[in-house]
């Protein structure tokens, strides 16, 4: 099992969710986050005061998936969330030691 953590542009969220649902990914956790990468920030001007905004709003998606689905999920996110412009985000993949469904006590792949 793998944990996929993807940082994407906020307006891409719906497309990514739909595409992942078609792959039979059973669940997603979404968080509104801020951060910076190569895109850097922008400046805002309020009368005479100029502020550099370093952290831009992004969406963080977390999904636990079966190893068999991993490549498809990564491909899908990369294809759907891509605009080709700087700031499209990143996908992080990590090993997942255990998953437990709280209601039934199922573990491992059965709990995904």
């Amino acid at each position: 099992m793998k944990m996929i953590t993807a940082i994407i542009k906020p307006f891409k969220l719906d497309e990514v969710r739909e595409a992942l649902a078609e792959l039979n990914v059973q669940g997603l956790t979404v968080t509104e986050v801020k951060g910076f990468g190569r895109q850097k920030g922008h400046t805002e001007l309020y009368r005479g005061a100029e502020y550099v905004v370093d952290f831009l709003p992004k969406i963080k998606i977390e999904a636990a998936v079966d190893d068999a689905l991993l490549d498809q999920v990564i491909d899908t996110i990369q294809t759907v969330a891509r605009t080709g412009k700087i700031g499209d985000g990143k996908i992080f993949v990590s090993d997942l030691a255990q998953v437990i469904r709280i209601r039934t006590g199922e573990t491992g792949n059965a709990a995904l």
Partner: protein
């Protein structure tokens, strides 16, 4: 503005002795109704107009502190106004401060005889009920004191703000209001001697011939200077210049500025004190100058900074409102147009170049907008009031028409500059002493950790927004 306080009982007798021809002033229901509307509009300007305009410009953690300061300053000043403020500003005393005849609003209503006194207007034989006159002028005092807090927003101790306002209202606002606006009214004026007698009872700057229709000196310059001194004495916000202090809701600011604009018709057109021909003149000037200033500020910003902004548009509108205030009942609409266009550009400089020059953390640019716009408007009033430029000139109450003496722009400009100078000096001195006094007794600033956490939680125990 003006003000003549005439008691039905005493004034007619007193003035009657001088000028037997003067008829008892008549109260008209239309005038009275208009003054109710105007007074309500000025209340709306303050709460919620000014409060939202300022509130949107601070960070979310200080939203309630600004709203509360303005709400409570309004309330405290109205109480003080009715206790002694009205009497000291708008009754005869000496040239610098009024008397105690109307302390606790005494003498306006006599329940025994069911007699209500009236206040003179700018027209002979026309009066309005003195209670609505007192209420109208009270809202001016309240919004003036409220304007100040924008200069030291986000760091002042709440108790210190209130204590300062009590002092500054008493020793700063009241004398200036009396000096600029008090006169006994036109009803007794029939010849040169009675004109001299009436003028002799007026406030000092009125006697000098200073023109201030709705409060350029009394309200805007006065408050802006007090604010600037406050920003200087209290010091910069923690993190100023290093951390982002971006406005948390320009949506609120736009709503507030729009309420200010609408309310300002009560402020300016209401200052005619009656529903006569001058009120619509002040109305159209307030409409036109404000729109022109919004256009010129936005255009200037677009050219210089590259983008037209919402904050720029509303700041421009407010600068136009401020600038046209002293002249709105004296200048012609095309004069108002020019004043508005110039005010937008001058105040844009006020919040950029001048602000950097001053090096003071005037949080919400009270001086850059109200001070610069107020000074500019007060001076230009002397120019555009000239009949040569379409203005009304000086009204002669002896001949009951425009003065036959040639209007000298240079001379009037000097008089206007004198009024501006006196207001600045007076307000600086009173404000400085008041801040130092409050600092010594209460402490002007909250502790640094409270400032970092935000005044809403640390000073007031509540939050504006819950996520």
């Amino acid at each position: 503005m003006n003000r003549a306080i005439i008691t039905m009982l005493t004034a007619v007798l007193a003035f009657g002795a001088v000028a037997p021809a003067a008829a008892a002033p008549v109260v008209n229901k239309g005038d009275t109704a208009w003054m109710f509307v105007a007074t309500l509009l000025v209340i709306m300007m303050s709460i919620p107009g000014l409060a939202l305009f300022y509130g949107g410009l601070v960070r979310a953690k200080n939203m309630l502190s600004v709203l509360l300061q303005i709400f409570m300053i309004f309330s405290v000043v109205i109480v003080l106004w009715c206790m002694y403020g009205y009497s000291l500003a708008f009754t005869g005393g000496n040239a610098f401060i009024g008397g105690f005849d109307r302390v606790l609003l005494n003498g306006i209503w006599d329940p025994a005889t069911a007699a209500f006194s009236s206040a003179a207007t700018f027209s002979k034989g026309v009066a309005i009920p003195e209670f609505i006159f007192a209420a109208f002028q009270g809202t001016f005092a309240a919004i003036t004191c409220g304007l100040i807090v924008g200069a030291f927003a986000e760091r002042a101790r709440f108790a210190a703000v209130l204590a300062f306002v009590v002092l500054w209202f008493t020793f700063g606002y009241l004398p200036i209001a009396h000096m600029v606006w008090f006169w006994p009214g036109p009803d007794a004026i029939t010849d040169a001697a009675s004109l001299a007698a009436a003028t002799g009872q007026a406030g000092w700057l009125w006697q000098q011939g200073a023109l201030d229709f709705a409060g350029g000196t009394v309200v805007h310059i006065n408050a802006a200077v007090a604010g600037l001194v406050g920003a200087y004495v209290i010091g910069k916000r923690v993190g100023y210049g290093r951390e982002s202090m971006a406005p948390h809701s320009l949506t609120m600011t736009m709503i507030g500025a729009s309420l200010l604009w609408v309310g300002w018709f009560g402020f300016n057109a209401g200052s005619a004190l009656e529903a006569n021909d001058v009120a619509p003149l002040a109305f159209i000037n307030t409409l036109l100058a404000t729109a022109a200033a919004a256009v010129s500020w936005l255009a200037g910003e677009w050219i210089v900074k590259g983008k037209p902004s919402m904050l720029g548009a509303v700041s421009g509108a407010v600068s136009g409102l401020v600038a046209i205030t002293p002249g709105c009942g004296f200048v012609a609409p095309m004069g108002a147009l020019v004043m508005g266009l110039l005010a937008g550009m001058v105040c844009l400089w006020g919040v950029n170049g001048l602000k950097r020059l001053l090096g003071v953390d005037d949080s919400l640019d009270v001086f850059g907008v109200h001070g610069v716009g107020g000074i500019f408007g007060a001076l230009l009033t002397g120019v555009f009031a000239a009949p040569q430029l379409g203005g009304q000139g000086i009204f002669d109450y002896v001949s009951n028409k425009m003065s036959a003496d040639p209007y000298s722009i240079g001379k009037q400009l000097l008089v206007q500059a004198e009024a501006v100078g006196v207001t600045i000096v007076w307000s600086v001195v009173v404000a400085f002493i008041a801040y130092k006094l409050v600092d010594a007794v209460i402490g002007l600033r909250v502790p640094q950790d409270e400032e970092r956490e935000g005044l809403d939680i640390t000073s007031h125990g509540e939050s504006a927004y819950h996520s």
